[in-house]
Amino acid sequence: MQSANMLLKKILRSSVLPFAAQHGMKKDLFPLCRTLSVSLCLKQDNSCQPSEKLDLDAWKKVMKSGLQEEVTETVSEPQELSSLAAARETLEMWRLAGRSVPENMSEEQLKTFMECPSKSAKKKYLRFLYLKELCKRNDKRKMEEKRERKLEAQEQTSKTEETQRSPFMSLWDSTMDKAYNWRAAQSMIFGQPLVFDMSFEKEMSVREVTNTVKQLVLSESCNRRSVDPFHIHFCNFKDDSLYHKEFLKYYREAWDKLLITMTDQCYTEVFPKEKLIYLTADSPKVMKTFDHDKIYIVGSMVDKSIKKGVSLARAKRLGLETAALPLEKYLLWNTGAKNLTLDQMMRILLTLKDTADWKKALEFVPKRKYCGFLNKPVSELKKTLDLMNTLKFGKRQQEVQKEFAKIYSKKYKLK
């Protein structure tokens, strides 16, 4: 390679085209000739004259010289690729082009990829896998760093040989687990029921179901850890459903030991109807206080495409009472949908149950969704806000002034 470059440089220095043609390298030099003629034309504009010793097309030589062996290789390979292999090939090219494509893909993932109905669906799926891979890799790296640090720390302590004795017995995780389980078991006898309605599988995509199960697992764990847990019921739960399959992925053998009531019955069959309250963001009724005698129902549904009124329809069909959290009343809402994740719901309900303090409970609403807590009712704030907006945009000046004067008559006098 190096020698070829040297040769080229020499040719260029002598810079005579016919000379190149005379030389026995016609084939290799062909592109060179073409581009040389181009650069000859370019010489007219002086601003961009290549310095004499620079060979601008040397890279093409390099690329082609590296090829000779590879070309023979590819020819010997079978031309017909299976569709899977072809897809893999395309993905590899995308990765080379710098798109967000995962490095490794399993056969199953590749099949899902090929079944995506549209280009954008494919892109989204790849991006999802790519980010997942990235997260995994980062986690692994962090774990390794942590392990190293631990080892180092151990070495140091072993050097100093100073084992401190604590006056308390150390409580291990298993002991904690036992305590939590004791509480959960108690709640199964004496606790207030909380129902998760598991009848939404048909309304969700596979991704949404997996997300739902993840949120349910989180809710279960924070319920178990609370001081006074709910007695969780999974109602309308079918044994061979997608929910069940996903749960098994998380819990494995622990699934059968969970301190939760699972039933394929509807909540109306398990509990008296007049005690049930269906919590849904679409409800026209707003929850005022947390009632310890009622049984609240939460729909186990992740709803990315905002299917309005699905859970309200369930409650309507069964003639149940409904309620929504008083988000508007206590929070100055900023952005985002008013439906919260299941674990956020769980934390809010647990806090309400323990403290009956709305402000404390609504701390669990994501901070990005609201601007702040309200100490005045919204209607009053809205009035001032409207006034401010009209003042800002200078519309209907007179009317605004009049209104302003009406509200703030003491401080402001109209002349």
């Binding site: 040397a58 390099v62 090219m93």
Partner: protein, 467 residues
């Protein structure tokens, strides 16, 4: 990072690279900036040479970036070289590179090469619409209209939606050419506009007009005009198609509204079966209505007035010549409140039929049902664009039917300074591309981009053949 003005040698590149924050991506960033500043191609070449000498290879993404620069500057021979190298180096290319190659080559005299690359790209994915666009434009620029239409049809068959630009180019390049086949294809495009309710923009309209007028021996003449409210063209006195649906279309639409909009996946989402049944019997007993009014929507027209007064004004304004009115409302209107006075409500109920739905029911669906059930003459009043209901319909054909029906049957009230309202009546004629054989009427938009899908153009191109 400013790209250099002149080609640099290896040492100079090395120095620049070392001074850069992230040496690993130096080449990429540099090439990106070259593309942005449209640097001279020799500068990029010298960078590539430097990379090749250092690594013995040039990475794919760098090649693609270089290709982008070449395409941007129309360096055809360079595009060729890069293509040769890529093809020899990689088994297949990805769609981005194909797009670039097609775009670069279709503008040159080697445009046929772009077609072979398009064929190659088809093997791995459906090519983008811009790729098709480049090829079609190249073919029609070189007067190979057959090929252009072939590609166009292929594109439609693959559900790739052509840009208005491509469609326009067909008319531009066919100007002055005679041929029965060609004419048929271009009429086909006009019918495509009709079927999909697409309105050409002003420059596109000009191309259509010029093409018609250029057909040798056929003597077409085009005029720009505004159609009267009666639906008559002032230029040729031709009466435009009316906006009524055919019997079959009408039945189809009513059925689909009931199935998709009212019931959907779960009847309880918008109403309840009992309520819908009650509404059905209510409507059947009082059929047919002339105007159906969305009470809540109308009551908000003037924000400074009491809501029931607004509704009363609207009813007074619409109740002429014994028109039978149906007002849809919600139960909360019946509760005496500051906005809904019981006496006024009583008085209104003498003038029109009222149906009060539950407070959480979506009454728009009922509005559609009652209007459709009353027959073709019945109109409805709301300021709502009904976009969410249109979206519930599952296929585009029914959505087009819905739009057409909506245009012909929706009355929009507008607040006026004096106490009454101005009515924007439903259109009597249908606003689509239409023909009678020796005339064409084509609605067009003044501006290029479509801002509101519900807004329809008022300007028309009238083309007629003078024998």
């Amino acid at each position: 990072l400013q790209p250099p003005e002149k080609p640099l040698d290896a040492e100079e590149w090395n120095r620049l690279r070392e001074n850069f924050r992230l040496p690993e991506v130096f080449e990429e960033v540099m090439l990106n900036n070259m593309i942005r500043c449209n640097s001279h191609i020799d500068v990029a070449k010298s960078l590539l040479t430097h990379v090749a000498k250092r690594n013995g290879d040039v990475a794919y993404n760098i090649l693609v970036k270089y290709l982008t620069l070449c395409v941007q500057q129309g360096q055809v021979s360079e595009i060729h070289d890069v293509y040769d190298i890529m093809k020899a180096r990689f088994k297949i290319l990805e769609i981005g590179a194909y797009n670039l190659l097609i775009k670069g080559l279709s503008n040159s005299d080697q445009w046929r090469m772009a077609l072979t690359i398009l064929e190659e790209a088809k093997k791995i994915m459906i090519p983008s619409r811009t790729s098709y666009e480049s090829c079609i434009k190249a073919a029609s620029r070189h007067q190979d209209m057959n090929l252009a239409f072939e590609l166009h049809n292929e594109m439609l068959a693959k559900n790739v939606v052509p840009t208005l630009d491509v469609l326009q180019s067909f008319f531009d390049f066919s100007r002055g050419v005679k041929g029965a086949e060609l004419q048929k294809e271009l009429f086909g495009i006009l019918l495509y506009l009709r079927e999909n309710q697409i309105y050409p923009h002003k420059t596109f309209m000009q191309s259509i007009k010029l093409w018609f007028e250029s057909i040798p021996g056929e003597n077409w003449r085009g005029h720009l005009t505004n159609i009267k409210d009666s639906g008559q063209c002032p230029v040729c006195n031709h009466q435009l198609e009316d906006s009524n649906l055919s019997e079959e279309e009408y039945n189809n639409l009513s059925e689909r509204i009931i199935r998709d909009v009212i019931h959907g996946t779960d009847t309880f989402r918008k109403t309840s079966p009992q309520e819908f049944e009650a509404f059905q019997t209510f409507v059947e007993n009082r059929l047919p209505f002339d105007i159906v009014i969305d009470g809540l929507n109308v009551s908000h027209i003037k924000p400074r007035k009491m809501q029931c007064e607004n509704l009363f004004d609207a009813i007074k304004c619409l109740a002429k010549e014994n028109a039978r009115l149906l007002v849809l409302g919600r139960k909360h209107m019946l509760v005496n409140s500051s906005n809904w006075k019981r006496e006024i409500m009583k008085e209104m109920q003498n003038k029109a039929d009222f149906f009060f739905a539950e407070n959480i029911t979506e009454d728009d669906a009922f509005l559609l049902y009652a209007t459709l059930r009353s027959g073709k003459h019945c109109k409805f009043v709301t300021r709502d664009f009904l976009r969410d209901h249109k979206a519930c319909l599952s296929d585009s054909l029914t959505r087009h039917l819905f739009r057409k029906w909506q245009r012909g049957h929706q009355i929009v009230l507008k607040p006026m300074v004096s106490s009454l309202f101005s009515q924007q009546p439903a259109f009597r004629y249908d606003c689509v591309v239409q023909t009678t054989g020796d005339t064409w009427h084509i609605p067009y938009k003044e501006v290029f981009e479509e801002k509101y899908s519900y807004r329809i153009p008022r300007k028309w191109l009238c083309i007629q053949q003078k024998r």
